[in-house]
Amino acid sequence: MSPKLARTRYMKLFIPSMILYLVGIFLASTERIIDMLPDGAIYGLVIIPAIGVFGWIYAQMRFVKECDEYIRKMQIEAILYGVCALMCVATVWGLLEFYTNVPKLPIFFALPGFYLFYGLAGAYLGWKNKAMCAML
């Protein structure tokens, strides 16, 4: 598959998934909406952003499979850097939570944390390998 087609297919799934995620997060974090809902409905509401997350991660997995081997190599490196940084932060912060008075960090931040590190790693690898536009 051509890299252009792979990117088009990625964007076609990524954009609606991201919109669904943002709408779900907005609904699930708006107190007025949460207060109106019975307890059972909250369980349903929080599934909405999770469907968005599933959609965009599936889009990313598909892109990694369909893009060319050089971009795939850089994408996998960026993902590994992202996972590595997140695991290191989680280990340090988790231990600090056990033994010190640092504030409890909600597990919700694992996803944005991963994408922050992954994004930084992707930008760095793109800059280093002179392939910035292929990584964005």
């Binding site: 598959m1 051509s2 890299p3 893009c67 060319d68 081997e69 050089y70 971009i71 190599k73 390998n129 002179k130 392939a131 536009c133 292929a134």
Partner: protein
């Protein structure tokens, strides 16, 4: 690995983008191979050889052996 991809591409008057389209890879991949930042897989090396109608060894050579034929 060393390669003579840049010379071969220039001899055919192809841009990196055009060669990338022939190979179904991105322009960045062609650039990375040409500059030696990335060694292609065997299937991609075969594809490159087919585009230039020559053998893989004519394009790619191990650094410890002789330079590639041009």
């Amino acid at each position: 690995m060393q390669n003579s991809l840049k010379t071969l591409r220039a001899s055919k008057g192809l841009s990196q983008q055009a060669l990338g389209e022939l190979l179904d890879v991105s322009r960045q991949s062609v650039n990375a191979i040409e500059t030696g930042r990335y060694d292609p897989s065997l299937p991609l090396a075969f594809k490159i050889a087919r585009v230039f109608d020559c053998a893989i060894e004519d394009i790619f050579t191990d650094e410890s052996s002789a330079p590639p034929a041009e």
